[in-house]
């Protein structure tokens, strides 16, 4: 436990010293909020079934933060640690591979949570953010979505032969997820063809379950999202456990 907590604290510090990662997790979502908030405001509209544009965007941007942490932050960090021999150096100590993985997940989770809280507070202060769900349901949706995407990040790190390829694959998956899932542009504006494609985009299900719980939907309306995210989680955990390499 001592070694695990020290590793987690260290990873936490390193994350904060990484300006790019901190920017995309903490600052970028707020910039998005400012831009789209100043264009559309947060008036209630039938388009978002009685909610405003900001009310719908905040849970969607939280989905974006989850994707950033999983597909970019975790996958690239782990692949880089492996390529540069950091993991191999750990391997010569009594540290276990699960400590390495769990510390990454924990730090990713805390950073995502901080990013989400900053976003929520800003939206509340500037745009009078509305919330129609209950905190526990939103928390469950958040934990499920994060687990699923962080596991996907480990899977990427496991199958990518180099840090560079993890970077490229991560980006190649990240951007379609960002734009075709409803995380940045609401899927209500998608033409039918695009909407079809977006069903193959994993982040779509994060956006749906996060927005659903935010608006106070019943879980029964989101069975499909939950099942898909669980399947991604289980498959990713199995594959990343099998493909985990120290060097």
């Amino acid at each position: 436990m001592k070694k695990f907590s020290k590793l987690a604290v260290t990873e936490f510090r390193l994350f904060l010293r990484e300006p790019e990662a901190a920017f995309f997790t903490f600052i970028f979502p707020i910039l998005m909020l400012f831009i789209f908030g100043s264009i559309y405001g947060n008036r209630q509209t039938e388009f978002f079934s009685g909610y405003g544009s900001v009310d719908a965007s905040v849970p969607a941007y939280i989905a974006m933060i989850i994707a950033t942490t999983g597909l970019l932050s975790i996958s690239i960090t782990v692949a880089m640690y492996r390529e540069r021999g950091v993991l191999k150096r750990y391997r010569t100590t009594p540290l276990s591979s699960s400590s390495v993985m769990i510390s990454q997940i924990l730090v990713g989770f805390i950073m995502t949570l901080i990013g989400a809280v900053i976003l929520i507070i800003t939206a509340k202060l500037l745009y009078n953010l509305r919330f129609g769900g209950n905190v526990i349901d939103v928390a469950i949706a958040f934990i499920l979505s994060s687990s699923s995407f962080f596991a996907l990040g480990f899977l990427l790190a496991g199958i990518a032969p180099t840090a560079r390829s993890a970077n490229v694959i991560g980006m190649a998956i990240y951007f379609p997820n960002l734009f075709l899932s409803g995380a940045t542009f609401p899927k209500q504006v998608f033409p039918a063809a695009l909407d079809k494609i977006s069903h193959f985009i994993p982040l779509r299900y994060v956006v749906e379950v996060m927005q659903g719980m935010w608006f106070g939907h019943n879980w029964s309306q989101h069975h499909r999202d939950v099942v898909i995210l669980l399947v991604i989680l289980v498959i990713s955990v199995i594959i990343s456990a099998l493909t985990f390499r120290w060097e």
């Binding site: 020290k6 010293r17 021999g85 750990y90 010569t92 009594p94 276990s96």
Partner: protein
């Protein structure tokens, strides 16, 4: 002289695809010695040391370290050994003191890392990020990390590769100090001079096989090359007369430079007596002992760095 055996390797084999990287190597390392494996790059040194460090699983043969099986007892063994790897790094923005604090937390038993900072001359760099350290400072940090659990055996794989001559000498001093604290040191190097200066015993490895294993002095003595006495003539004299010098086994002439070889310890005084006795003027007289480099050349038929 040998203490207790702390590393036992018996007919170790490891192959990568079709290439036999290590091909039936056997040796023992004794408590308290500085044991060196030398050989050219690709000889199988790193593979061997990494099998002992429990980083790799041997294809065949037995390895025992401190009475433990490196494959089965990975965790227990890691508690008791310290390792510096040939190729590894730390996160760029990790500070020196944080790295030491972090690695100390991995072990059940650890020593005060503040003292290690002082010992290794890193105290002024304690708040520096890994990425801003020089090559020598990085290497000293890796030595500190290898010592943080007060290990019984310390492994150094190519410790001085890529360092400038001065930093290399600092490393040699550090290695001696580590041994003086009662630890066993197991190192690999492709610098023959380093092995000769540093190691109590040297294992010469080439193409995955152990070619020789002994103290550097014995290895050189077994070469029976004797010493070479080299000087430059200032007058025009006939070099053929040097064959008359007692104990001179061979005379080589290259313009005005004369090299006289022989195995007797009296050769040097005979040469000097002959030159002064015959009134022959000479300058730049020096003697050359055969080195481990010569041993390697003789045993393998090729240079270390090809």
């Amino acid at each position: 002289m040998p203490g207790q055996s702390v590393v036992k390797v018996n007919t170790l084999c490891k192959r990568y695809g079709k290439v036999k990287s290590v091909d039936g190597i056997s040796f023992e390392v004794y408590q308290g010695e500085i044991f060196g494996m030398v050989g050219p790059n690709g000889a199988g040194k790193t593979t061997t040391i990494e099998c002992i460090e429990s980083l790799r699983r041997p294809d065949a043969g037995e390895v025992e370290v401190l009475g433990l099986d490196p494959v089965k007892d990975h965790k227990q063994l890691c508690e008791r050994i310290g390792v510096q790897l040939q190729e590894s790094s730390l996160p760029d923005r990790l500070h020196v003191d944080e790295a030491l604090d972090l690695f100390s937390s991995f072990y059940r038993k650890s020593i005060n890392w503040q003292e290690l900072l002082l010992d290794l001359g890193l105290q002024e760099k304690a708040r520096n990020a890994y990425v801003n350290l020089s090559g020598g400072q990085k290497q000293r940090l890796f030595i500190a990390l290898a010592l943080v659990n007060d290990p019984e055996i310390v492994f150094f794989d190519e410790l001085t590769t890529g360092l400038d001559p001065q930093a290399r000498r600092t490393m040699w001093e550090l290695v001696h100090r580590i041994r003086d604290k009662g630890k066993t040191v197991f190192l690999t190097t492709h610098f023959m001079e380093e092995a000769e200066r540093l190691c109590d015993r040297v294992a010469i490895i080439d193409c995955g096989k152990l070619i020789a294993l002994d103290t550097p002095e014995n290895l050189i003595r077994d070469l029976k090359e004797g010493q070479r006495i080299i000087f430059t003539l200032q007058d025009n004299v006939d070099p053929a007369q040097f064959h008359r010098i007692k104990y001179a086994e061979s005379v080589a002439v290259s313009s005005d430079r004369i090299t006289i070889s022989g195995s007797s310890d009296h050769l040097i005084s005979e040469v000097v007596n002959f030159l002064t006795g015959n009134g022959i003027h000479f300058r730049d007289l020096r003697t050359e002992q055969p080195s481990l480099e010569d041993v390697f050349l003789k045993l393998t038929g090729h240079q270390v760095r090809n």
